[in-house]
């Protein structure tokens, strides 16, 4: 049963349908929030807020085949709220060690995942969001562009820039 059908069932008061939706999306949403915020308690809060909001908005849901985008948009908004509360600023690109000539195979050679994790954490919230929406949400770049209210080209450029930044971070650490 697809997401829209489950939502319609949940709308009719069938808790089982809502539970099925939650089972399907609990790991992607929680993983996304956890990796974005780096805090289990906050990720748990985002997760709860998202699903409670879905439940409270069941009546208003219109089945247009965009449930996944809708749920990740909600999660994204809540995550951004946390960033705003924290007054966390995006990574200052000017301070990055930028080198177009960094070894191309640095990521391949990197075996220590902690370094990659650290490098990911150094990315701006927006840059990380694209990667996590892609990996945890299994969304297309077009869907991501809709969630983030950005043109597709901008999303792709940001994704490429993030990969370049990761390469540079890891290159700088290796050096």
């Amino acid at each position: 049963m697809n997401d829209d059908k489950l939502m319609l069932q949940a709308k009719l008061g069938r808790d089982e349908a809502f539970k099925m939706l939650m089972e399907k999306y609990k790991t992607p949403i929680y993983s996304y929030a956890l990796n974005m915020l780096g805090d289990e308690a906050k990720a748990g809060d985002v997760f709860q807020e998202v699903f409670i909001k879905i439940f409270e908005n069941l009546k208003n849901y219109r089945p247009e085949g965009k449930f996944k985008s809708w749920i990740f948009k909600m999660a994204s908004n809540r995550v951004m709220d946390y960033f705003r509360q924290k007054k966390e600023t995006d990574f200052d690109e000017n301070k990055q060690a930028s080198s177009d000539h960094a070894p191309a195979d640095i990521l391949i050679k990197k075996e220590k995942s902690e370094n990659l994790k650290k490098a990911l954490d150094k990315l701006s919230a927006t840059d990380r969001e694209i990667i996590y929406l892609k990996e945890y949400g299994q969304m297309t770049f077009r869907e991501i562009s809709q969630i983030m209210d950005m043109p597709l080209g901008t999303v792709l450029a940001k994704a490429n820039r993030s990969i370049k930044k990761l390469r540079n971070f890891l290159g700088a650490e290796n050096a």
Binding site: P28, L107, K117, F141, R142, A159, N160, I163, R167
Partner: protein, 161 residues
């Protein structure tokens, strides 16, 4: 060929979002491009790493949501439970009334005729009562006259007669 467009195409290709024609073209390029092969390898490693960091939420959090849903539904459930039977009974009664009215025999001419007859009989009965009263009063007057005559006759002498 390593411009921004190629980088974008590599990303789309890696995630199966590039159309077939462009995909074939890019694949031809990748075969002869060590740098693009490495970029694809980077994407693969990044995807694997991020994928490994998937984590499910603690069950307690999930249970909290279920609990919240149950709480949110509770008032509606109590209301339904309280008024369920009376509502059904009321609806049933209304249905019976509706059905009765629907199938009720309409007034026939015979019924109207009988109604007319009853009305006429009542009028007749009333008229008879009036006649009886008249006769009753007539009897009284007649009796008074007879009494008066008897009294006159009683006072008369035989010779007078």
């Amino acid at each position: 060929m390593h411009n921004e467009e190629t980088q974008n195409q590599l990303l789309l290709y890696f995630y199966n979002e590039l159309d077939d024609a462009k995909g074939k073209q890019l694949l031809e390029h990748i075969k002869n491009c060590a740098l693009c092969k490495m970029r694809l390898e980077e994407l693969k490693n990044l995807s694997l790493f991020v994928g490994q960091n998937k984590k499910s939420p603690p069950q307690a959090i999930v249970n909290d949501i279920y609990c919240h849903i149950r709480q949110a539904k509770k008032p509606a459930y109590t209301f339904t439970r309280r008024f369920y039977k009376p509502a059904i009974a009321f609806a049933g009664a209304m249905l019976v009334i509706l059905v009765f009215n629907f199938f009720k025999k309409p007034s026939l001419p015979e019924d109207l005729w009988f109604e007319d007859i009853y009305s006429r009989l009542e009028t007749l009965h009333s008229d008879i009562s009036e006649i009886n009263q008249y006769f009753a009063s007539s009897d009284y007057i007649m009796q008074a006259k007879i009494d008066e005559l008897e009294e006159l006759v009683g006072n008369m002498e035989i010779s007078d007669i």
